[in-house]
């Protein structure tokens, strides 16, 4: 199964639009998923990410547009002829069949011989670390095991494209974290083109080669996890991925000012007058000594300090009234040394971390 990579197919989406009444679930979406890539559609609920996945699977018929797997146009093909694997949010395992019955189902439909079904089912179950579970009833399985069975069923017929619709959302956090890594490894092992839907930004960053951030039926940005986090193209992406505060930036000639401070930045600044400074809590630090030339310094007053175990979160108010959060690691006894509410602090932001983005949602 390890060399299915060469069979992976690229997905080409062109100008796909789907409306429900006046609402655009998908608004002229175009997207290229590379062969063998792990691409995540990330967005809030109602953003259109699931609709797009359903268009790929063939369960939602768009108003117009084109969808190609490789060179083949698929948009009018019924779902049962598309030959893509899919993991459903609630797994959709057939309750009247055993684990073996479920995993073997796509093989039996394809007329695979009884013996081959048995070996391939066992191999698929081994792949998801459920070897020997074939005889179990679905109702006897835990959530994590159901997840694995659903995964086994979606890969057992070796589809060249795998779709996943929030497959981990029903699991508790610990299991979810482990499954994220496992799915990642599985993808490396099987190499099929994978489109993954989630509303969990951390999950998207953890697992994906690239992430498409979706909102209002449009792709707001398509980039690798680091670029997405570090260089968001617009305020929606900056806000949706990670925590951030924004300060509005005024531009006068070549000078940029935010929160009463003249900004130094080593980043590119977008065109236009409507700009915002993105402040990631973990990129801001508390200054004790004088700052160097490469640091922007904001004077602020602490409003609240929150203990969160591995880190603290400190809220502070700038002189112009805007609120900023600062996150820092906690080591032995450092929490006790933090300034209390009401104390004046100086917040430092390195020029390299001074990210200025266009102040628009899309």
């Amino acid at each position: 199964m390890s060399d299915t990579n060469k069979d992976a197919l690229p997905i080409t989406v062109r100008n796909v639009t789907k409306t429900y009444g006046d609402v655009y679930a998908l608004d002229d979406v175009s997207l290229d998923v590379k062969s063998g890539e792990f691409l995540t559609l990330l967005g809030p609920s109602g953003s259109g990410k699931t609709t797009l996945l359903m268009v790929l699977a063939g369960f939602t018929r768009p108003d117009r547009g084109s969808l190609k797997f490789g060179d083949e146009e698929m948009i009018r093909k019924p779902p049962h002829l598309r030959d893509v694997g899919m993991v459903f949010q609630n797994y959709a395992l057939f309750p009247h069949m055993t684990v073996e019955g479920n995993v073997g189902y796509p093989l039996r439909l394809r007329g695979v011989s009884k013996q081959d079904v048995a070996t391939r089912v066992e191999r698929a179950l081994d792949t998801v670390q459920l070897g020997g579970y074939g005889g179990r009833r679905i109702t006897e399985l835990s959530g994590g095991q159901k997840q694995r069975v659903a995964l086994a069923r979606s890969i057992v017929f070796e589809p060249r494209i795998l779709l996943m619709d929030e497959p981990l959302s029903a699991l508790d956090k610990k299991l979810r974290d482990r499954m994220q890594i496992e799915l990642r490894h599985l993808h490396e092992q099987l190499g099929m083109t994978t489109v993954y839907v989630t509303h969990d930004q951390r999950e998207a960053l953890t697992m994906s080669d690239r992430v498409a951030v979706v909102n209002h039926g449009r792709i707001m940005q398509l980039a690798g996890p680091q670029e997405l986090y570090d260089r968001p193209e617009n305020k929606f992406v900056a806000d949706f991925i990670g925590d951030s505060n924004f300060l509005s930036v005024t531009r006068e000639g070549g000078t940029l000012t935010a929160g009463g401070v003249k900004l130094r930045t080593s980043r590119n600044v977008p065109e236009g007058d409507s700009l915002a400074l993105m402040l990631r809590p973990e990129r801001i630090h508390l200054l004790e000594d004088a700052a160097d030339d490469e640091t922007n310094v904001f004077d602020a007053k602490v409003t609240e300090v929150v203990y969160q175990g591995e880190s603290f979160l400190l809220y502070a108010k700038l002189s112009d009234g805007s609120e900023v959060a600062v996150r820092g690691a906690i080591r032995a006894d450092t929490f006790a040394g933090l300034p209390r509410a009401g104390a004046p602090v100086r917040l430092g932001l390195a020029a390299a971390d001074t990210v200025i983005i266009a102040d628009r949602e899309g």
């Binding site: 699977a57 063939g58 369960f59 019924p78 779902p79 049962h80 002829l81 598309r82 030959d83 893509v84 694997g85 899919m86 459903f88 609630n90 959709a92 395992l93 057939f94 309750p95 009247h96 189902y105 796509p106 439909l109 394809r110 069923r153 979606s154 017929f157």
Partner: protein, 294 residues
């Protein structure tokens, strides 16, 4: 540990009180069941073992075995019940499927249409069929004037009429549990089947149908058991040509004033019904008959 018993007896007493209160709530119904079910059935049971001379006797049961006519009546009863159940499945299952696929608002409307006859008198509905199906009835007159057939068809006072009437009365009992089971089937199952390569037909037979069978079985069993003791409709629409156990019971009492014979028939019918239910319960969960859980 000396403190482990703290409040234990008080808490136990509270528990007992709660159970007692719950039982108290059920007692009117239990009393009613006792008075109108257990006592009369017990009395029937007793009467069935009393002979013509007033002493204990098995003559009522022996007669059933000796006379061929009784065997035929039981056979007819089972045949009519099986036929009715089969026709109900043929008509009801596709209808339930159709309803389960409709948008909820339309489905509710259809459900109302299925339930509406329930709220109409059984007698009225049965006589309505008589009006429709008789020799000079609406159906025959229309069909002849439209040229569908030339001579009036005999659709009533025979097996045809019995079946038409019984199927009509029984259909809701089949449709409701079947529809319930179908509504409970997650649509994602069918999507999954389709995604895994099943054509709509394959998906139906491999996923939807098996998941709907508990409801179908429950409905069929309900219809079958109700048919075994059905009286009014087959009596009127059968016109005396289709004689079921229930009719024989009535004629034993009204014509021959033989309570012992009637009681014995009643006891046998009850025993057969219990056997049917017992056999069925070994294959399916009877909770389904009341729309209960899976």
């Amino acid at each position: 540990m000396a403190t482990t018993d703290i409040n234990a007896s008080g808490l136990r007493q509270d528990e007992r009180m709660e159970r007692l209160k719950l039982f108290g709530l059920a007692s009117p119904a239990l009393l009613l069941v006792l008075v109108i079910l257990v006592i009369p059935v017990g009395w029937l049971f007793y009467v069935s073992f009393v002979g013509a001379d007033g002493s204990f006797s098995l003559e009522n049961y022996e007669r059933m075995i000796e006379r061929k006519s009784y065997a035929r009546i039981f056979q007819t009863t089972f045949e009519v019940s099986i036929l009715t159940t089969g026709l109900c499945i043929l008509i009801g299952y596709p209808l339930a499927y159709f309803m389960s696929q409709l948008p909820q608002r339309l489905a509710n409307l259809c459900l109302l249409a299925v339930l509406l006859p329930f709220w109409t008198s059984l007698l009225v509905r049965t006589y309505a069929w008589l009006v429709l199906l008789q020799k000079q009835g609406l159906v025959n007159n229309w069909a002849i004037s439209l040229g569908l057939w030339d001579e009036p068809l005999k659709m009533v006072h025979n097996l045809n009429g019995t079946l038409i009437g019984m199927v009509h009365i029984m259909l809701p009992f089949l449709i409701l549990p079947t529809y319930g089971a179908m509504k409970a089937i997650d649509r994602d199952y069918l999507k999954a089947a389709s995604n895994l390569g099943a054509s709509p037909r394959r998906a139906f037979w491999t996923v939807f149908f098996p998941l709907s069978t508990p409801g179908l079985f429950a409905g069929s069993l309900m219809v079958f058991v109700l048919c075994l003791g059905f009286f009014v409709t087959p009596a009127i629409l059968g016109g005396g040509r289709v004689i079921l156990v229930s009719m024989k019971i009535v004629s034993n009492i009204e014509l021959f004033v033989n309570w012992g014979a009637a009681s014995a028939l009643g006891v046998v019918l009850l025993a057969m019904t219990i056997v049917v239910l017992w056999v069925a319960s070994r294959f399916l969960n009877l909770d389904q008959m009341t729309g209960g859980g899976h």
